[in-house]
């Protein structure tokens, strides 16, 4: 054991711009131990540690020893012989972390084998609707399909539209429309991750008593008839005396609203959403309903 001068050690460390962490790493002890050495709570340490400490401080051993004593002292009440070099805990902790990670990987693999989820999430669909529409007007409906299938896949998109509405032009072209069932279908083969299906829906005037129009639909992979995916997203819109692009119902189409129109429908330029009317309402002071012509007109 060697008696050390804690104050000297601290001074040498600070002069050398070294940290307690650095000394602890070199000697192989904790920073708490270095702190205790410097604060003279452990006045004697192992010779081996003292030599490493001197090496880390780049001084001779004599420079860190207590001046009045040049040989190891026997144990006294001030000496704490057994705790100046607590074993580093890094290795056991590291083993525990690696073991936990390995167990998690194995568990995930086993779960994947016994409970595959690939088929349930292979195709998803989302509907986008305007917030409202006025009776007698037409509005766009978007269905975005996301496919995680690695190969092209055939699918059937079936959309149920509300009574009192008519599905007009679709992009791509609608495969079939059933007016009795109020449904329309696309049967298509998709080969990209994202695809968009859109149609114009027209509201007939006779919707007395209705305040919302409700939609529903599903996507089925053609080679797996039992695997039905509901179309998520918006499933209704309000019947209200505003243009469908006038989101905040202030009888104007402002900058944010017209940008939303172009950002949402830019992928389907062929869809006849009457961009001219939308642009002219935006460029003017607003719009109003012309009951004679049965459509919206701009206000200058």
């Amino acid at each position: 054991m060697v008696r050390i001068d804690g104050a000297k050690i601290r001074q040498l460390r600070e002069n050398g711009k070294l940290t307690q962490l650095y000394l602890a790493t070199v000697v192989g002890v904790t920073t708490d131990t270095i702190s205790r050495w410097e604060n003279r709570r452990y006045q004697s340490i192992k010779l081996e540690n003292a030599e490493k400490l001197a090496q880390a401080l780049e001084v001779d051993l004599a420079d860190i020893r207590k001046q009045e004593q040049e040989q190891p002292e026997p144990r006294t009440a001030d000496v704490q012989p057994q705790t100046d070099t607590p074993p580093p805990k890094k290795r056991p902790r590291g083993i525990i972390i690696i073991s936990a990670l390995s167990a998690a990987v194995v568990l995930a693999f086993v779960l994947h084998l016994f409970f595959p989820q690939q088929q349930q999430n292979s195709v998803s669909a989302e509907r986008i609707l305007p917030p409202h529409v006025f009776p007698g007007q037409a509005f766009p409906v978007l269905i975005r399909i996301h496919s995680a299938e690695q190969t092209p896949v055939s699918l059937i998109i079936k959309e149920m539209i509300p009574r009192g509405t008519l599905a007009l032009q679709g992009v791509p072209a609608i495969t079939s429309i059933d007016r009795e069932e109020n449904s329309l279908k696309w049967i298509r083969r998709i080969d990209s991750e994202e695809s968009v299906y859109a149609y114009i829906c027209s509201v007939t005037a006779d919707l007395a008593g209705e305040d919302r129009l409700r939609f529903s639909g599903s996507v089925t992979l053609k080679n797996n008839a039992g695997n039905l995916h509901d179309i998520k997203g918006a499933d209704s819109l309000a019947i209200a005396p505003y243009h469908w692009a006038d989101g905040n119902r202030d009888y104007m189409i402002d900058d944010e609203e017209i940008l939303a129109v172009y950002d949402t429908y830019s992928d389907i330029e062929e869809l006849p959403i009457d961009r001219e009317l939308v642009d002219s309402i935006w460029a003017s002071s607003g719009y109003t309903w012309d009951s004679g012509k049965k459509h919206f007109i701009t206000v200058d």
């Binding site: 090496q55 401080l57 900058d255 940008l259 830019s266 642009d279």
Partner: protein, 143 residues
């Protein structure tokens, strides 16, 4: 020999922290900086006189559309513009263009005024919905 070993250990110690700092920079800060890069930038190629020209640069993560708003001193009229302004009124103090189907690259909007203006009397901005998140964003046209 003791001091050489200690020096080597200190160097490897510092290298470790330097390497960790570089990794953090690359892994955390760089993506944030890249995400913060603007979708659109614009500057006046000509900002005084009777002819104004604005250059608009669209980045790779461009929005589908944007609106250019040009503010003019009261009473100054736009005689002609390329492309045509969509919303304009001399009493409104400016004009608007709706830039549709944006593609990466540079385009220009030019306008001829009925009287000369100075750069200090005009300003312009571009409004768009950010491609990341759809937030409404406004940038000033630089002079």
């Amino acid at each position: 020999m003791r001091r050489c070993a200690a020096q080597r250990m200190r160097q490897s110690y510092h290298s470790f922290f330097l390497g960790t700092a570089c990794l953090l920079w690359t892994g955390l800060l760089m993506p944030a900086l890249l995400m913060a890069a603007p979708d659109i930038t614009a500057r006046y190629a000509q900002s005084q006189g009777t002819r104004l020209v604005i250059e608009i640069n669209v980045g790779s993560s461009q929005p589908a559309s944007a609106i250019l708003v040009q503010h003019l001193p009261p009473g100054v009229r736009i005689l002609s513009s390329q492309p045509e302004a969509e919303q304009y009124g001399a009493n409104r103090g400016g004009a608007k263009w709706l830039l549709r189907n944006l593609r990466p690259g540079t385009s220009t909007v030019s306008m001829t005024l009925d009287r000369a203006v100075s750069g200090a009397d005009i300003s312009a901005e571009i409004r768009f919905k950010s491609a990341q998140g759809g937030k409404m964003t406004t940038i000033q046209v630089e002079k």
